[in-house]
Structure formats: structure tokens, C-alpha cells
């Protein structure tokens, strides 16, 4: 086995894993606060990618710079979705909640298809093809920037949740919904904010992903599944778990190409998923419920 190749792949996996972690962070936040599994998660990310793409094409603003705007747009989208749809299904049994969210994903995916057609789109940004070398390992600049920003955003979110008032309310509502209501927290508003924040986080991940990967309407559900795998791997509702899980999955997928064709990568991810669900269902960091 070529150790340089293995190292190369591992690093690539880590870099991508940071983004995976960010996507999963959004999903985990939504689950942690509301107990809802957002089956439309990947499609929201795709929406963000398209918004970012069009901002770049029409206004010339690089995705990394428009990130905050895109996140804000998707924040609003998330808020609307939560208050009009998800709110109504909060008390439904877990498995039934799946249905409207899957349908939402279907709607978002086909809206993208309707508006922007089926072709893959990739912005040719200034940094698109730049690489640099550390020893014998090649690193994409875009990938590195994406990783760094992903970590920064993750940390910002951790800090936000820990220190800010809203953050504390969110954590309270996640911990004990009834208790939160009893101390006067407007749980509806918190739910809306949490969902919106989760969506925005994922949107950020999408924007970071855009320079690395062309966007097309149908890539959404693959990312929803990836987010699931990471969240289950790290532990549902555990934010640190989402980050670590993302890194682990990134590396696992990447290094699997040493033994398997790249197109079978996901078999590895799904196998990890099933093994974790069977043998450690609470995830690597989840406590026993």
C-alpha cells in the first residue's frame, strides 16, 4: 500500500469531514431541540448552494464572501418551514414525521429542477484549481479553506449556544421542553430559531462545498443520508459528536478508495451506519438515554 497515497487520502478525508461535520451539526441541532429528523436536510443545503452559485454568477461575489448572506437566506427559509410545517407535526410519532419532511425534500429538489434545470453547475472561482504541496502531499486550497471555515463556524456555534441568551434557551428547550415552557421560554420561537439555525448551518456547509463539488438538483438526498450517518455515528443531539463523526466518516470514505472503486464509497458509509446502529445505537458520544 502506498503510504503517501494513504496519507493523501486521509488528509483529504479530514478536510471534507469538517464540512460533513457542519452539515451534521445542523441536523443534530434540529434533532436535539425538537426531536425531529429533518429528511429534507440535504435539499436545503442544495438550495443554499444554488443561491450561492447565482450570487456568484450574477453579482460576481465569491462564495466564501457571500456565505453569511446565503446562510441568512436559508435561515429565513428554515424559519418559514418550521413555523408553517414542522411545528404542526412535532407531536406526531417519530416515524410518521418522516413523511411530510421527505415530501418537503421532494418539493425542494424539484423546485431546484424546475428553476435551474438538471445540469451540473460549478462556479469557476479564483481559488478553484489552486493547490499547494506539503512534502509529497497535495492539498486543494479550496478544500483547506472550506475545512478551516467549517471548524471556525462550528466553534462559533458552540460558543453561541453556550454563552448567548438565545443559545441557553435553545439548550434548555433541548434538554427539557416542559421545563423550558415552565420557566417562561417561548418554546415555539425557540423551535423556529433552532430549525432556522440548523438550516443556516447546513447552508454554510453547502456554500463551502460549492467550490469543491458541482451542484445539481438531485445531490440533496445523498447529503441527507451522509448527515444521518454522521449524526448517528456521533450521537443524536450531540454537537461535538457531529464534528468528530464528520471527520471519521470523511476519512473512512476517502481511504476506502484504496480498496474499493470510488463509486462504492457509500457502501462503506452505510455499513458503518448499520454497525453503529446495531452495536452502539447511542453513537460514539451519546449518553445512554
Amino acid at each position: 500500500m502506498d503510504s503517501t497515497l494513504a496519507l493523501q487520502l486521509t488528509i483529504q478525508g479530514i478536510l471534507l469531514g469538517g464540512i460533513y461535520g457542519l452539515i451534521a451539526l445542523g441536523l443534530s441541532l434540529i434533532f436535539g431541540v425538537m426531536g425531529v429528523i429533518n429528511f429534507a436536510h440535504g435539499q436545503m443545503m442544495v438550495m443554499a448552494m444554488y443561491v450561492s452559485y447565482w450570487i456568484f454568477v450574477l453579482l460576481g461575489i465569491d462564495p466564501y464572501l457571500s456565505l453569511v448572506i446565503v446562510a441568512a437566506v436559508i435561515f429565513v427559509l428554515g424559519y418559514v418551514v418550521q413555523s408553517s410545517l414542522v411545528n404542526r407535526i412535532l407531536d406526531y410519532p417519530e416515524a410518521i414525521q418522516v413523511l411530510p419532511l421527505v415530501s418537503l425534500g421532494l418539493v425542494l429538489e424539484n423546485c431546484a429542477l424546475l428553476f435551474w434545470g438538471p445540469d451540473h453547475r460549478s462556479p469557476q472561482t479564483a481559488l478553484s484549481l489552486k493547490t499547494f504541496w506539503i512534502g509529497s502531499v497535495m492539498i486543494d486550497v479550496s478544500r483547506l479553506i472550506a475545512f478551516v471555515l467549517a471548524i471556525v463556524i462550528t466553534i462559533l456555534i458552540f460558543v453561541f449556544l453556550k454563552k448567548s441568551n438565545i443559545g441557553k434557551c435553545i439548550r434548555a428547550a433541548a434538554d427539557n421542553r416542559t421545563g423550558a415552557i415552565l420557566v417562561g421560554i417561548n418554546v415555539d420561537r425557540i423551535n423556529n430559531t433552532s430549525f432556522a439555525l440548523g438550516a443556516a448551518t447546513t447552508a454554510a456547509a453547502g456554500v463551502l462545498l460549492l467550490p469543491l463539488m458541482p451542484v445539481s438538483p438531485h445531490i440533496g438526498h445523498d447529503f441527507t443520508l451522509t448527515a444521518f450517518i454522521v449524526v448517528i455515528l456521533g450521537g443524536m443531539g450531540n454537537l461535538m459528536g457531529a464534528l468528530v463523526g464528520g471527520l471519521i466518516l470523511g476519512v473512512a470514505e476517502s481511504t476506502s478508495t484504496l480498496f474499493l472503486p470510488a463509486t462504492l464509497k457509500q457502501v462503506v458509509s452505510f455499513s458503518i451506519l448499520i454497525i453503529i446502529m446495531l452495536f452502539r445505537p447511542q453513537g460514539l458520544f451519546g449518553g445512554k438515554k
Binding site: A95, L106, N110, L114, I274
Partner: protein
């Protein structure tokens, strides 16, 4: 009760005679109405009646399609026979999935994700098997004959598809009134209480998933010989898994006629919007309509449209006897 059976008999008679009056294209729409009603019914057995949600049911369609086709291409086996082997394979895989879910405790959302994972893994693996067409898929030669399960024109497919749908209704009706079906419903309603009343929940969960898988895979065999093209992304893909659940949900989850009603509403909608809008470049609109409808139904009419259909038909069906 008698009025209701009379009503059904009339509808059935009408459906039997329709091909005499309709052109081939419209017949094709009906083929799909019956097809999706059948598949939805098969899924209904596991999800509507027993309460375990599967978002990976395309797995069984794919198994049915590929197994039948492989046996036909390699051994010249008629799909009429091949489909039962496909069904057995589907049931076996369902048993495996069922084991993970019902014995190893992957329940609720974990079960849903497992069903997705199985379908996706199979899709990816089949995409790499040369003998099954790999990434290109398999194109079937057109050799029409009854034995080959291939026919000219939509009329024969219409009757076969109708037959499947009717048989599924009979099977599920028998299930509903039998011990097996009652236990399945009990599991859906409250699995723990069912255990306390002497129901071997593991056994009946496994029966449910096996029946559901077997039935679904027969549809795959039909599909392969109707469309003449197999591709893993269509047959095992998530879009198929999602498509097949929409009709029972909209029509009425866990009811006998829910999938049928749902299909009679959604399938023509899909065909019309696909034909009408796709030409104008509005591709995907029909799926948006589907999705919105499904969301609205789950939120505002969780029991499905069948509730309104029943109200509508009540005056016609009210029996003078009781």
C-alpha cells in the same frame, strides 16, 4: 354490506370493459394506476397495517425486476415462474432486514434509516455487477408472447395490472379479517400491549415484512417486462421508494382502498402534469405537486382522502337492511 359489494362489482365490470373504448395511451395511464395501487398496497401491509415505516421499498421492486430478468436471460425461464423466485429472494432479504429491526432492536427512525440503507447499498452493488448491466442497465429484447410476459399494446398489460391490483385487495382483505392481520394491527397500535395479550410480536412482524416484500417484488417483475429497461437508479432508487409511498398516504394509510384511491388521484395527475408541463420545460412540477399534496394530507387529513370518499359515498352505500 351487500350494496357495497354490488358497487364494487359494478366498478370492476366497468374497468373490465374500458379497454374497448380507450386508446392505447390512456390505457397506459391505467396500467400505471393499477401498478402503483398494487405496489402501494404491498407497502401498506408493512407500514399501514403493522406500523413499521419503510422508505426503502424500492429494494424489493429492484430484486423482483433483476431476478426475473436474470433468470429469463440466462435460463430462458418465464417471468411468470421467475417472479416467484424473485419473491423468495425478496422475502429472504426482508427477513434479514426484519431481524435487524425486530430482534436487534432497530426501531422507529433507526428502522426507517435501515430500510433506506439496504436499498442504497443494493443499488450501489448492483451498479457494479456486469451480469446485471452495471451502470448502463439492461435493455430487454421485445419478443412478445404470453410465456415471455411481453405483449404488444397496452391492453394485455392493463388486464394483468388490474389483476394484480384486485388480487392484492383480496389478499389484504383476507389479512384484515384474519388472526394474522389482527395481530399486525395490534402491533401497530401498541406493541407492548400486544405482547401482554399473548401475541408473538417478533413472528408477526417478520410475517408482515416478508409478505410485503414478496408482493412488492412481483411488481418489479411486471415493471421490467413493461418498460423493457432496467437501471439500478430507477429500480432501487430513493425516488421510487418515495413515489410508491405517496399514494397510500394520500389515499389512506392502513386502509384497504387507500392505495387505490391514492393512485387514482395521483397517477393521472402525474401523467397529465408530466405530459403537459414537461413540454413547456416545467419538468419536475408533478413531483412538486405530489410533495405538496402529501404534506397537506399528512397535516390536515392524516387519515387520508378515503375519509371524504366514504362520506361522499355513504348515501349510495347505506344498506337498507341494517
Amino acid at each position: 354490506m351487500i350494496r357495497f359489494y354490488l358497487f364494487l362489482a359494478i366498478i370492476f365490470a366497468v374497468l373490465l370493459l374500458l379497454p374497448l373504448f380507450l386508446d392505447n395511451y390512456i390505457l397506459g395511464i391505467f396500467v400505471m394506476i393499477f401498478y402503483w395501487a398494487y405496489v402501494g398496497q404491498a407497502w401498506n401491509v408493512l407500514t399501514g397495517y403493522t406500523g413499521h415505516i419503510s422508505l426503502g421499498h424500492a429494494l424489493y421492486i429492484g430484486i423482483g425486476a433483476y431476478a426475473t430478468t436474470y433468470l429469463a436471460l440466462t435460463f430462458g425461464l418465464s417471468p411468470w415462474i421467475g417472479m416467484f423466485f424473485g419473491g423468495l429472494i425478496a422475502a429472504a432479504i426482508a427477513f434479514f432486514l426484519g431481524f435487524l429491526g425486530f430482534r436487534f432492536g432497530l426501531r422507529g427512525v433507526y428502522f426507517v434509516i435501515t430500510t433506506i440503507a439496504f436499498a442504497e447499498i443494493t443499488r450501489l452493488i448492483v451498479s457494479h455487477i456486469e451480469a446485471l448491466g452495471s451502470f448502463t442497465g439492461i435493455f430487454l429484447d421485445f419478443n412478445p408472447s404470453f410465456w415471455n410476459f411481453q405483449f404488444r399494446g397496452n391492453q394485455p398489460y392493463y388486464y394483468i395490472s388490474l389483476g394484480f391490483m384486485v388480487v392484492s385487495l383480496v389478499v389484504v382483505r383476507l389479512l384484515e379479517t384474519s388472526k394474522v392481520g389482527r395481530f399486525m394491527v395490534a402491533i401497530r397500535e401498541d406493541e407492548e400491549a400486544a405482547q401482554a395479550l399473548g401475541v408473538n410480536t417478533f413472528k408477526y412482524n417478520m410475517i408482515a415484512i416478508a409478505i410485503s416484500a414478496f408482493m412488492t417484488s412481483l411488481a418489479g417483475a411486471f415493471y421490467a417486462n413493461y418498460i423493457f429497461y432496467l437501471h439500478p437508479n430507477t429500480l432501487f432508487g430513493m425516488s421510487t421508494s418515495i413515489e410508491l409511498i405517496l399514494r397510500p398516504i394520500v389515499g389512506g394509510l392502513g386502509t384497504l382502498f387507500g392505495p387505490v384511491i391514492g393512485s387514482f388521484i395521483l397517477t393521472p395527475l402525474s401523467e397529465i402534469s408530466r405530459a403537459y408541463f414537461a413540454k413547456g420545460g416545467l419538468e419536475g412540477l408533478h413531483l412538486i405537486l405530489y410533495g405538496v399534496l402529501a404534506i397537506l394530507v399528512v397535516i390536515f387529513m392524516p387519515k387520508g382522502i378515503i375519509v371524504y370518499v366514504k362520506k361522499l359515498l355513504a348515501p349510495i352505500l347505506k344498506s337498507k337492511i341494517t
